[in-house]
Amino acid sequence: MLPATNGTFSVSMEVREFRSLVDGLTAFARARMGVPAPVASEIAQTVLARFLSGRYDVKSELAWLRKAVARECADYHSKLSRSEVYMGTAAELPDRGRDPIPQIHSELLAKRVVAELPARSGEVLRLHYLLGFTAAEVGERLGISASYAENLISKGLAEAKALLCTKKREPR
């Protein structure tokens, strides 16, 4: 899972090795710890930045990184499961303002939906919904007719809806 660096991680790593380390930690967080891809990337980034700042003097840097990633993933799962408890018993809790955890969950869900769209649909929907292009402008940008662009937008939206429904049903 992690890159073969003979058990060592060095701040003087080559760019290629560094990328492979980020890849390895992200994959570890996703495949072994079961966090969604965007969250896994964020965790790898947080942990590596912390390691770089801290000048930690430990025997095995990779072991340290793995442990820190595993801990962050566990925290992520724990926050999500707490959010379910919160939502279930909200009426019994004192009002402490807006609970951020359902919001976090909803943002992560949105990221997962967008991340898993097919590339073509993703591009069309990004132009239409994020950048505000009309169907005609999307068509012009992609070299297709306005009506075909409109069809692609509808198809993409249907795909996003299907993904959203699937993700909502998945165990958190």
Binding site: V11, V15, F18, R19, L21, V22, D23, T26, A37, P38, S41, E42, I43, A44, Q45, T46, V47, L48, A49, R50, L52, S53, G54, R55, Y56, D57, V58, K59, S60, A63, W64, K67, A68, R71, E72, D75, E107, A110, K111, V113, V114, A115, L117, A119, G122, L125, R126, H128, Y129, L130, S154, L157, A158, A160, K161, L164, C165
Partner: protein, 445 residues
């Protein structure tokens, strides 16, 4: 009842025209209304820039993260090097000179400077705690002024937490315990920002354990020692985990649980030898020596202190070597081997003198004077007292402490030197370490 088709749901969700029949069905069918709500939720998601943050192809996202981290690493390397050059420029001017320099050149206030100052304070903490405190005070100020620009999320707070943690250590060594507790509280708060904090918080918990032990809150100290050892071991920091366990052993020994304390220390030896961590093994041997003394096993204590001395020599830890010599000298004197003990103390004194540690030179000299008096070597005791103020003045000892040593010299010259006069000066020096402004008052008569 026929539900709306997927195309009709999409049209409804996008506020496009629907047939009358479809509109009418939608008014009656909750399931279809849920479908429309899902379409609208999708539109909201797709229109929100946050949803697209990490939607780039995964390899591109990873590359972007790696590039950002490499840029951060390169930035830190450059800032570290600049900070080292700046500290070389400061030279003997110390922290005050540095504070003046960075006031004139605020661009020097970087994350790298904070890191270098923390490292410098840590290195000097044992030898010259006041200087260590001065360095770390500058580090705290710089860290507090660090902006977020160009730093990963949480990095500025992390550095602030590390500076506060080292500040707590320096305060502890100087005996300013309540301030040290406050600094640790702040350290933990800053370190908790930004994630991946468990390891730093475990180190802080170890520091809190030492502090609690120093102020006699042994039960709390024991809890911190145990919890920090567990986490540090999980992160592969065997050195710090071993120190946490040594703290646990010390606390158990204090509670009279000597067999349990011995067991803990014995368990540590194998893994440390396997890691060839000679510096930590030296600390372990010193701790085993102290435990042997608690167990009234003087030959065992001598053996462990000799081992500590040997390991400290091997690792070039001069200050620890001097301390091991000191401990061994005291044990030998109490075991009746006066000449051997005195020889050790003389050697330790010389080492502290070379290291420029006036407090230790003075304290050891008092120990030596007592040993000389006990062995009726009065002229040597007098001679040592005579040179002591000058020796310590050259090492930079404060004026009030020098007055106390001058009093001892006068006692020697007047033939009034006794264990009472050395005890009086020793007690004063202990208090003056925490409060250098404290005036020395000689014994009556």
């Amino acid at each position: 009842m026929t539900h709306l088709s997927e195309v009709e749901l999409l049209r409804a969700g996008r506020d496009q025209p629907l047939s009358e029949a479809s509109r009418s069905h939608l008014g009656r069918c909750e399931e279809c209304r849920e479908g429309v709500a899902e379409v609208r939720e999708c539109e909201r998601i797709l229109g929100d820039p946050k949803s697209w943050d990490a939607a780039a192809p995964e390899s591109t996202a990873t590359d972007a993260i790696a590039d950002a981290l490499i840029a951060y690493r390169n930035r830190l390397e450059k800032e570290d090097a600049d900070a080292r050059r700046l500290l070389e420029t400061v030279g003997d001017g110390g922290a005050e000179m540095l504070a003046i320099l960075i006031r004139e050149a605020p661009e020097a206030e970087t994350a790298g400077l904070v890191r270098e100052l923390i490292a410098r304070s840590e290195t000097e903490r044992e030898r010259t705690p006041r200087k260590a405190l001065a360095w770390i005070e500058v580090a705290r100020n710089v860290a507090a002024r660090l902006g977020q620009q160009g730093l990963p999320a949480g990095a500025a707070e992390h550095l602030r937490g590390l500076a506060e943690k080292e500040y707590a250590n320096a305060l502890r060594v100087l005996g300013r315990y309540s301030e040290a507790f406050e600094a640790l509280d702040r350290a933990e708060a800053w370190l908790s920002v930004g994630g991946a904090a468990e390891y730093d918080l475990a180190i802080a918990a170890f520091g809190r354990g030492i502090l609690c032990a120093a102020v006699g809150r042994s039960e709390e100290a024991l809890g911190f020692a145990r919890s920090s050892a567990e986490v540090l071991a999980e992160y592969g920091d065997t050195r710090r985990a071993a120190h946490s366990r040594m703290l646990e052993a010390l606390l158990r020994a204090r509670r009279g649980e000597l067999p349990r304390a011995r067991q803990i220390l014995e368990e540590l030896e194998g893994p440390l030898r396997q890691d060839e961590d000679w510096a930590t093994l030296a600390a372990l041997s010193a701790n085993r020596g102290n435990l042997a003394l608690d167990e009234r096993d003087v030959p065992g204590a001598i053996r462990f202190f000799e081992e500590a001395e040997e390991l400290n020599r091997k690792t070039g830890q001069i200050v620890h070597l001097a301390r091991a010599d000191w401990q061994l000298g005291v044990v030998l004197i109490h075991a009746g081997r006066l000449d051997d003990g005195i020889a050790r103390l003389v050697r330790a004194r010389m080492r502290f003198q070379i290291q420029g540690m006036p407090g230790e030179v003075a304290a050891l000299s008092l120990e030596l004077v007592d040993a000389f008096l006990a062995s009726k070597r009065i002229s040597e005791a007098r001679e040592l007292c005579s040179s002591l103020p000058d020796d310590c003045r050259k090492l930079g000892m404060g004026q009030n402490a020098l007055l106390a040593l001058a009093y001892l010299r006068e006692c020697g010259e007047a033939g009034r030197l006794s264990v009472h006069s050395t005890a009086h000066v020793r007690e004063y020096l202990g208090r003056a370490e925490r409060n250098p402004e404290l005036a020395f008052i000689p014994l009556p008569g």
